[in-house]
């Protein structure tokens, strides 16, 4: 699917976005405030398969990527939104229950808070672990560097 088609779907739902066709495929960039509405509109438009959700530390904010697929047409679309480091991620679990785990993971590994999630606990690490996927968290501890 070209990004323009996806952008139209979102526009019809009242969500403004920036569409781009990249090496990845159709990417729609939108505000994190409208992510739930955007995801619901795409689900309505036949994107019935939730492939993945993950966060990336871009250096300025956390970029959250939603990867959806229309199973009958085998078309993929990627939604991206930026959440500030101290920001809140709105859960899309009511549209795609598959998002329940990865949202918890994004929140704990990138240090965001979750809203609208039925079980906003940590998923992989114990309490007190820093947000590991932030670029500010070193891959090696000082001791490891010293003895390596």
């Amino acid at each position: 699917m070209p990004a323009s088609t996806g952008a139209e779907v979102l526009r019809a739902a009242g969500v403004s976005c920036e569409g781009a066709d990249t090496t990845l495929g159709a990417v729609l960039l939108l505000s994190a405030d409208h992510i739930v509405e955007a995801v619901a509109a795409l689900n309505e438009a036949g994107y019935d398969q939730f492939i993945d959700l993950f966060g990336t530390d871009t250096g300025q904010a956390v970029e959250v990527t939603y990867h959806l697929r229309a199973l009958n047409k085998l078309e993929d679309v990627y939604l991206k939104c930026h959440v500030p480091y101290d920001g809140e991620l709105r859960s899309v679990w009511a549209v795609y229950p598959a998002a329940l785990y990865p949202e918890r993971e994004v929140a704990e590994l990138l240090g965001l808070s979750l809203s609208g999630h039925p079980n906003p606990k940590r998923l992989l690490t114990t309490d007190g672990t820093p947000p590991l996927l932030r670029k500010s968290v070193a891959i090696r501890t000082a001791e490891e560097v010293q003895y390596s």
Partner: protein
Amino acid sequence: MSDESVAPTPAPAIPAEGASPMEVLPRGLRRVPHGLDELATEHLILNMGPQHPSTHGVLHVLLELDGEEVQAAEASVGYLHRGIEKLAESRKYHQVGTLLDRADYLSGFHTETAFALTVEKLGEIEVPEKASWIRSLLMELNRIASHVVWIGTFGMDAGAMAPFLYMMRDREALLDILESISGGRMMFNYVRPGGVFDDLPAGVDDKIRTWLATFGTYLDEWDALLGGNEIFQIRLKNVGVISAETALAFGLTGASLRGSGVDFDVRRAAPYCAYPELDFEVPLGERGDCWNRYVIRVGEMRQAARMIRQLVDGMPEGEFKAKMPRVYKAPAGEAYASVESPRGELGVHLISDGGPTPYRMRLRAPSYYNLSIIDEALAGGLIADAVVIMASLDIVLGEIDR
């Protein structure tokens, strides 16, 4: 010391709840007898794990029970979290394979290939035909090795101990082949961006053909031993029914999705490596119960054996890797590529900033999503079925925790 002067003290009277108070109890009684018809029951939280022999890793499941019936289930994961995604950010592209083998340690070739395909997609690297064929061959061999472990442990979960021993015996022969090709039994580090590490060793094709000649018989033997057992069938049929709608809602892929009748296989949907040239079928289920998932995986092993025969016979001549710089730098950008692992769609999403290491590597692990259905799938069932249903999803914790 004498203590004969001490008289035995009578046992204290125990007040009986709900019984009519009597000031003077009958002689010899401590309390008024009463029935127990108003027995209070409450839900019990049962901790299953973190150690369980066939969960393929370390999984802790909390089950809320009302007697024998499961009310709710929650998976507590993370025991195997090694930070593979974070560590990949400090590894050069040809070094990431060592980490990926340890994600899904039962099917390392699939994870390695998914990563290699993503790097090649991002860098527009042309892979020699032979490398693609070797990858497909190894992935199908690995699929059987992985399914063999699954079928054995699945039998154990249902209470059948003996088949596991047969399957481990036959898997050993397969691991010998994988070892003769890659040097490792499970941690291969053989598929690299641009191709594979080395050419196939001389004589391995005969070794595979010899193994194939007996494998069909073995598979029939296991299937008769386990799938032909009526008790096993009763334990599986109409147990853990997952509708196509529910399977899609939780992002299920692989045999767990196809068991519910959804015809989706990455080898068909987005063919990679040598799959466009191979002749194979994708087994499908209808009801979405544990029996369907069992039949599909057994069918997948037969199809894999069929593909291995084609791959060995049609193995092209030529180079096994593309010319790659010593330290490869992927161009800045993003790419996603996926393979059909024994557990489902295994994808790698790569973000590069043009440097010698990935900026961000995300592993889309099929088991991760397959596990997320357990609350929906286990609730309302019996506790004895909970084990079977979880086993039928075929999860490997290494790739869930990463």
